[in-house]
């Protein structure tokens, strides 16, 4: 039995020719039925596998729906390209992408930290964008991969906030300084399971080496005002309420609280933001970013979507909606961000944050930072 299947994509018609050489009448009629059945099944299967006529892009995003869908909708309105979205946790989406393999429907992967992009690159599920001078010119080299596998789209800074009435900014200087015994029982920070703490420690490992980082972590953990718990906003509230004097948080949470309801704003008003490590290597930053998947059915449109996300209006949108910093230094930021002043950001290649992530978690385990 030999089945030939001809596909005429331009006409979207499938014709299946079945050649069979059967000897007897009885088996012929039985096999005709079987073949008809098989033909039908094949036709159905094949039709589902045909690429759809309208241009569509499929996006796996670790950025939450509210923080990416408005941009995607705008892209669809401008280009007529429909964008389908699944959101989720970075590692889970990455696992889905990996197991689906070459048949994965995803064209673009968006994550909220450099570590996941690094892992995606390691897993071989991204393909390089080699022909986008726009992206390579606009996005600073340390905020994208060398090979063009992924590009940073927005910047998140991990800063120190302090109680205005109990701490003078002159007492603060660096992350390293937070291990000083003078801060004993005065520091609030969330669990070390949080990715932004892991990235911060990864950057410390890169800057100071393992031995120094271990010592620093022990000092830091000894200074905790309470066992790590809650999210970044909870740390800010704890500083405002007087449970601790300083906290390490991502700046956009502080910004969001300043724009939130009265209760949160009242708490945020009691604390101020401090840019750590300004005289040294700069404040630790992470990125959210995107890459084109290796399995992408529409790699060119996927690249265009990423270019769209790096465009002026989109870049301003990150600042205005979520108080993140644009990845492009030439884009003006929002009022709130301006009120915090300019800062010097760590110029460490964010790939390193991914490379050292596991080592950072282990170091925090050793120090008993739960």
């Amino acid at each position: 039995m030999k089945i030939q299947l001809a596909l005429l994509p331009e006409m979207r018609i499938i014709s299946i020719r079945i050649n069979n050489r059967m000897e007897t009448d009885v088996s012929l009629s039985r096999s005709t039925f079987f073949h008809r059945l098989l033909t039908m099944v094949l036709a159905i299967l094949a039709s589902t596998a045909l690429p759809s006529t309208a241009a569509e892009l499929n996006v796996y995003s670790a950025r939450k729906e509210a923080l990416i869908k408005p941009l995607l909708d705008k892209y669809s309105a401008e280009t007529g390209v429909k964008v389908n979205l699944v959101t989720g946790k970075g590692d889970a989406l990455l696992t889905r992408l990996k197991t689906e393999g070459r048949n994965s429907p995803a064209d673009v992967l968006i994550t909220t930290d450099a570590g996941r992009l690094y892992r995606a690159h390691q897993a071989g599920v991204l393909q390089p964008i080699t022909d986008s001078p726009t992206l390579t010119m606009q996005i600073p080299a340390h905020l994208r991969s060398d090979q063009g596998d992924w590009f940073g789209l927005s910047v998140r800074a991990r800063v120190i906030v302090y109680a205005k009435d109990r701490v003078k900014p002159s007492e603060l200087s660096t992350y390293e300084n937070l291990a000083d015994p003078k801060w004993k029982g005065r520091i609030c920070i969330r669990s070390s399971s949080n990715i932004y703490n892991q990235s911060l420690v990864a950057s410390m490992l890169a800057a100071n080496g393992e031995g120094n980082t271990d010592t620093w972590l022990q000092g830091l953990v000894a200074n905790f005002a309470r066992p790590p718990q809650g999210g970044d906003r909870d740390q800010i509230k704890a500083v405002a309420a007087g449970q601790c004097d300083v906290a390490v948080v991502n700046s956009y949470y502080f910004g969001a609280m300043l724009q939130a309801d009265n209760e949160q704003r009242a708490a945020a008003d009691k604390v101020a933001l401090f840019w750590p490590n300004q005289g040294y290597r700069g404040t630790h930053i992470n990125i959210s970013g995107a890459g084109v998947t290796a399995s992408a059915k529409h790699p060119d449109q996927a690249r265009e979507l990423i270019e769209f996300l790096a465009r002026d209006e989109s870049q301003r949108w990150y600042a205005e909606t979520n108080n993140e910093y644009p990845v492009r230094p030439d884009i003006p930021t929002s009022e709130i961000l301006k009120s915090w002043g300019d800062f010097k950001a760590d110029e460490l290649d964010v790939t390193v944050l991914g490379e050292r992530n596991a080592a950072a978690v282990m170091a925090m385990d050793r120090a008993g930072w739960r």
Partner: protein, 555 residues
Amino acid sequence: MEITAAPTALAAGRQASAWRPALVFTASVLAVPVLVVCASLALPFSETWHHLADTVLQDYVINSLLLMLGVGAGTFVLGVSAAWLSAMCEYPGRRFFSWALLLPMAMPAYIIAYTYTGLLDFAGPVQSGLRATFDWGYGDYYFPEIRSLGGAVCMLSLVLYPYVYLLARVAFAEQSTALLEASRNLGRGPWQTLFQVALPMARPAIAAGVSLALMETLADYGTVDYFGVSVFTTGIFRTWYGLGELITAAQLAAFLLLFVFALIVLERASRNRLRFHHGAAGKLHPRIRLGGWRGAFCSLVAAGILLLGFLLPAGQLLVWALDNWRETIDITFLTLVGHSFMLAAIASVCCLLVALLLGYGKRLHPGKVEVSAVRISAMGYAVPGTVIAVGVLMPFAWLDNAIDSFMRAQFDVSTGLLLSGTLFALVFAYVVRYLSVSLQSVEAGLSRIRHSIDESARSLGSSPTRVLRRIHLPMLRGSLLTALLLVFVDVLKELPATLILRPFNFNTLAVRTYELASDERLADAATPALAIVLIGLLPVFLLTRGMRENGNGHD
């Protein structure tokens, strides 16, 4: 059983033959995700294990055990006392409380954790009020820390006790009146009857309820993560996300499963020789009338449980939601409601059908193979949803890619992914995860029906299917409704598997709640969270009505 006539047994054996392969096949398919997780144990153990053993593993184990101990005790006390009050006593407000005490079930554990933290933590209104009133500062007074192991025990007990309550209430209500009367006639008081007769008789149901609560506890991630308690689940995710070691994480999950399996075996073994049956008929047990201060005390207890488990957190959600519902309720919100409702309905019916097949099939053929197949297929409940999702993702993607490669090689046609990323895969994951819930319910119901009833019907020539339809299903009505309700509400709240497996552009209320809550926008998350609670109320009402009509619950 031995006295059954040989020819009947033979005939029955032939007719029943379809049940056995159906059971083994279904159970095997459902066991695949759990086995995928267990298969990780066959892979080499990485260096990371040294690191874990040296640093954090001990914490994971001890904290998990303490958490289970606490939640086990908490759900037992809350659930059994609520069930006893509802089934056996007449006190002011009983009719209202008997369904209202189910309400906490509709509350996702991590949501109740968020709301209580908002109220009780250092910066919250309660402590701030105390400080303002007494002019205290930080460190001047003692206040229990809500974000702690003890806090997690309280939160989980408050939302999980309805499992025990539901199953125990049905068991109490279905208990033989004669037995309880005999106990009272022989001079036992109501308390002694409770502890010496009713509780031991209801043991399968209570054990089923508590073990469901414990499995849910082991699988919980949201609450313990927010409270910063290091348990097995947080360890699994830390290993996966933080260390980037999916295999080590799966191995941790597999050890968790072994642990659960040991618990189940132990529980079964302890009641191996005991049988818990009740007669089919019999008049209803008259409730103990409690008036005066005793009645008032009962009402107070019930009201207290309801207040802590539902009214307080739901009230907080309502306050938040009233503030911002204009922004949060729009067309897409209605779509979310539709998706959530549809998924929960489909999954609960699927779970019930599978549970009936497995539960009844096991009753017909309690062989070693059948029993262990059913056990393994129902273990998904103790596995964190994300891990189950990966266990579903892998075999489905493998199957899809294998078919695709075959079709490419043979016919030069790519079939792409046929099942991965579809609702089918998602519903399959729900069945794997929640089968245990409906199965426990169905089995607890079946175990209270005497085998002699089956045997009489069978010896009169009824086929097993006919016995199931004509005798068991009507007798089981309460248990079946319970099974439907529990899974419905569970799926409504389910997050991690939905998050990983759902198709494009398909969100649910739980996903929306999570996205907002994890972005620390609790007030905005209140509206979808309240919607989950409200939809969860529907089946609670249906169940209460169903039980009333049934007469079993004699409500």
